[in-house]
Symmetry: C2
Subunit: 121 residues, 2 copies
């Protein structure tokens, strides 16, 4: 068993023009041939956002809001409110945006072949 921290004090601010007032604390190693997915905790300060973009790469994404609330959109561009306990799934390459007035903490998982949980019918 190895231990590590993903607390706010170890999170970093990436040099990424898509991110404004957002820090990242990775949980997993980055995507590689060995493991084609990654997970990280994103913390949005009040007014933080991930600017609208179409992600490169062939992975899909799951965003799960852990604390706080914000506004989220996918292909349509129509912003919808989202809060702790709610998640969204974006297909590979799907254009999307996420912003928060009050601040939020979210998990983002990205991977090849990743699908959201679908409740048995």
């Amino acid at each position: 068993m190895e231990r590590f921290s993903f607390a706010a004090d170890v999170a970093f601010t990436p040099r990424d023009e898509l991110l404004e007032r957002v820090t990242i604390a990775p949980l997993s190693a980055p995507i590689s041939g060995r493991s084609p997915f990654q997970a990280a905790v994103f913390r949005f300060a009040p007014g933080g956002r991930i600017v609208r973009h179409a992600p490169a790469g062939s992975g899909s994404q799951i965003l799960a809001v852990l604390l706080g609330s914000g506004g989220v959109s996918g292909t349509s561009g129509a912003e919808e409110p989202i809060a702790a306990g709610e998640a969204v799934f974006w297909k590979p390459g799907e254009e999307h945006e996420l912003k928060s007035t009050e601040g939020l903490m979210a998990l983002i998982i990205e991977g090849e072949g990743l699908d959201m949980f679908r409740r048995p019918q």
Copy 2:
């Protein structure tokens, strides 16, 4: 963009003798050939635990405590305190246990080739 919930009211109590007073709200689809990893939110009521076991399968696991605190162990069996913002990595097949007196919420990610985030030296 598709939406779904992982809030407490959609979590379920699996029939699993390894879990006591623990509910699960999956984020991703279960491990399959298409995507060899999975992620889910585990909620421990006070006194909840994942009984000591050596997991089947060839995946490693990352446990990230999101809220609350508990006690965790790996191969050695020595219990260590863990709290929100802290994570552990268990190797494939590594025997482990997790329990909580006060209750906790944690993310567990499991996958083939999964490694924890390692800070560049």
